[in-house]
Symmetry: C2
Subunit: 455 residues, 2 copies
């Protein structure tokens, strides 16, 4: 490993400047205007992987954005690691809150600032560079297959089918993913649980046009008022989702599991201070860690209707809309929750309005056992580089495709991510620690070594 | 009157093409980018009034948009009529729903299409042309003062002070306003009641930045969810506003008044069909006419927060906002209702968020007695041109400045408007009937004749 370490050490600046090239491509998958940027990012990765030493690299088209596939096979007997990552990023609005240009990365205060710095360009690029270091030093001990997609932030609509069509190609022992965070820099962790997601959009329509709120106000249903009533009714005073059947499949933790779960270091005061809130809020009877780790939620991600510009307009809007997503936990299932949501939302709408409900995307919750050989290899790798055994961690986030990997490709995923909560992924001013980037590269290289020796 | 009629008849095309010049000026008072257009509209009116025959016309500056003042004094003994109108218009969004350009007026199907066609450029311009016809035919029987403002759609913030500073200049017998609608073309009416208005903006702030809804969802208050709960709670299941004290000053109608009130022709089926709604909705125990005419309301005019673009973004927004207005009825008072709203909204907000409440503008409700000489003159004028006695009508709309005219200038206002409900004021595709325009001019000219003879 000394050789690998010195390869990383000797190429620090180049690794960073290569990452910056990738970060400069505004590959926002949610916005169709960036279609061309998706292809640019994919082609850039292909060429970067070829330079790093893969035997084969392809930009494989799908109905949506392409999948970058690359491989290097060292021996039929060696373990095969599938590296998953995504080159698409979140939108950047509200853009006025960024202190630097989202797509003009800079290093400041030991951090890389820019959209995708952590999620997931920074993290996936660690894998390319760890691979490069192993190849360059003649010490790659496993077969490696890269599967890098461009639609994770919109729910990976094309990757499901792509996996189904490439089962043979994707045969391997484990999927390695760096798209999550650690508890803290001094509390390394491996994510062994992810929440599922069910992302819906609703529209409430009233009159056939915007109306004067004086001439009609009080006599016709106002879609914006109705929408607030409908949404408000979806969560009760105890913070529980009111959709009938919503909790039917939720696995409740045993008292022992709950006690274990709450052992991870956590300071509510620091948490509130970091978010600048006077109080937290969530489902009654659960801790903050439980609320994000093992309990389902319902959040409004966006709401809009009527006049939202400067000044006043006395209008009853013809329609009002909201994007509403639910995070799911084992053993809730995305499609069932989407059905329950739609049925309930239609049922509670008054006859004075019409509603449209759309299921935008989703995915199943995921749990990874901690006794897998690959988990143990990851834990040893982190202990080697961080000097501490990592804790298993249940993240509130979702990577919907991860459960599909298990059902379609028959492989478990190891979620060894190196982000931190301060990275502000999905928010303005996303960043990623420069040292997280370099230590991540080293840890990934270690993983291959330990995993190669596992039975 | 025959001479006046033939003057109108002989100048139909010119009147319309002059109106179009005014309609082409995008004088949207709510949007500061249109500051220059406000001045252009004011200057255009000054020059138009001079051509019509006033002795004096001035664009008088205020802290906001200017007031156009003009006068013609025929005799110290004659009655003095003050004509009020406004040259500012509503914003045009959603602009994609317009079938024609909002500021490029056209005549089609007997109607003038464009922003301001009715509200209020079309209606105020009838007064300029009625005045012209009377002057041109040497038959103006009253002194006339024009007071045309550019801030009605944002609550006339500067006109209150302007009136206080020009009490002497504005002395007169009555204020004549055409900024309202009739019940129907074959049911002429004069508005003798207007609701007041209290227009608020609220902002709910949670965490100090947008958060990832997976990592934080369920553990922190989502400002968009909280906003929907707060707004939903402002109106109960019976359609009554829940703000403590809100109904304290509402004057309940006697059973006789209610019976009278519901005599005006009204078809609920036609009403629903015109709006394309399956059901109406409002305060329990009141008819649609009562709900808009004599009952107060609370409507969301705009709501926004989080991700509102194409696709999905899994975000807990840092803040969410709404514009909320209440229509007021006698004897509610605007400032008191604003205070009650603010106090209540702050009281119901949970400790997990912060709220801002702003009072954007408002005005008092107004009632005009039907036994005033000017009301009787207006009724005779409408009967002369429409062939039917007009009904007294309680409109749900608000012209906040009208009650201020009474308290500051000591004059009642006669609300003789010629619009129709299909004119879609404040909405896309505003229009005004060409015949409403010409018959309005004739009716206004008649008004002067009848009023001159009233004791």
């Amino acid at each position: 490993m000394e050789q690998v370490k010195s390869h990383i050490e000797g190429n620090r600046d180049r690794f960073l400047s290569e990452l910056f090239e990738l970060l400069r491509i505004p590959s926002i998958s949610a916005q169709s205007v960036h279609k061309g940027d998706m292809l640019r990012a994919a082609e850039w990765l292909k060429s970067s992987l070829l330079k790093a030493g893969v035997d084969r690299a392809e930009v494989m088209s799908t109905e949506g954005n392409p999948v970058v596939y690359a491989e290097k096979m060292v021996s039929p007997e060696a373990h095969t690691v599938v590296v998953y990552g995504h080159y698409d990023v979140m939108p950047v609005d509200p853009v006025e809150e960024w202190r630097t240009e989202p797509f003009e990365p800079v290093v400041k205060e030991g951090r890389i600032w820019g959209r995708g710095a952590d999620d997931d360009k920074g993290q996936l690029f660690m894998h390319v560079k760890a691979f490069e270091a192993l190849v360059a030093t003649g010490s790659l001990p496993c077969n490696v297959k890269f599967m890098l997609e461009g639609e994770e932030e919109i729910g990976s609509p094309s990757l499901y089918r792509w996996c189904e069509e490439h089962r043979e190609l994707m045969k391997g022992d484990v999927i390695l993913v760096s798209d999550t965070s650690m508890i803290a820099w001094d509390t390394p962790s491996i994510t062994c649980g992810l929440r599922g997601l069910c992302y819906m959009e609703v529209e409430v329509t009233g009159p056939n046009k915007d109306l004067h709120s004086g001439l009609f106000g009080g006599a016709v249903a106002n879609p914006a008022n109705v929408l607030t009533r409908l949404i408000a009714s979806l969560v009760d005073d105890r913070g529980r989702v009111t959709i009938p059947g919503f909790y039917d499949d939720v696995r409740e933790l045993t008292p022992e599991e709950r006690a274990d779960f709450n052992k991870a270091p956590f300071s509510l005061e620091d948490y509130k201070k970091a978010l600048d809130v006077d109080d937290v809020q969530g489902e009654e009877g659960y801790t903050t860690m439980e609320r994000t780790g093992v309990r389902p939620t319902l959040d409004v991600n966006g709401i809009w209707g009527g006049y939202i510009e400067e000044g006043t307009k006395t209008v009853i809007p013809a329609r009002a809309s909201a994007k509403i997503s639910m995070r799911l936990v084992p053993n809730q299932r995305y499609e069932r929750i989407a059905d329950l949501f739609e049925r309930h939302f239609r049922a509670i709408a008054p006859p004075s309005v019409r509603v449209k409900v759309r299921n935008l995307h989703g995915g199943e919750p995921y749990v990874s056992p901690t006794d897998l050989p690959a988990y143990r290899a990851a834990a040893k790798a982190m202990e080697a580089t961080f000097g501490k055994k990592p804790l298993p961690f249940y993240s509130g986030g979702s990577i919907p495709i991860v459960s599909a990997f298990e059902s379609i490709l028959g492989m478990k995923s190891i979620l060894m991510g190196f982000g931190l909560s301060q990275d502000a992924i999905h928010s303005p001013n996303e960043s990623y620690g420069v040292e997280n980037f370099y230590r991540g590269i080293e840890t990934i290289a270690c993983f291959y070594r330990y995993f190669a020796d596992m039975k």
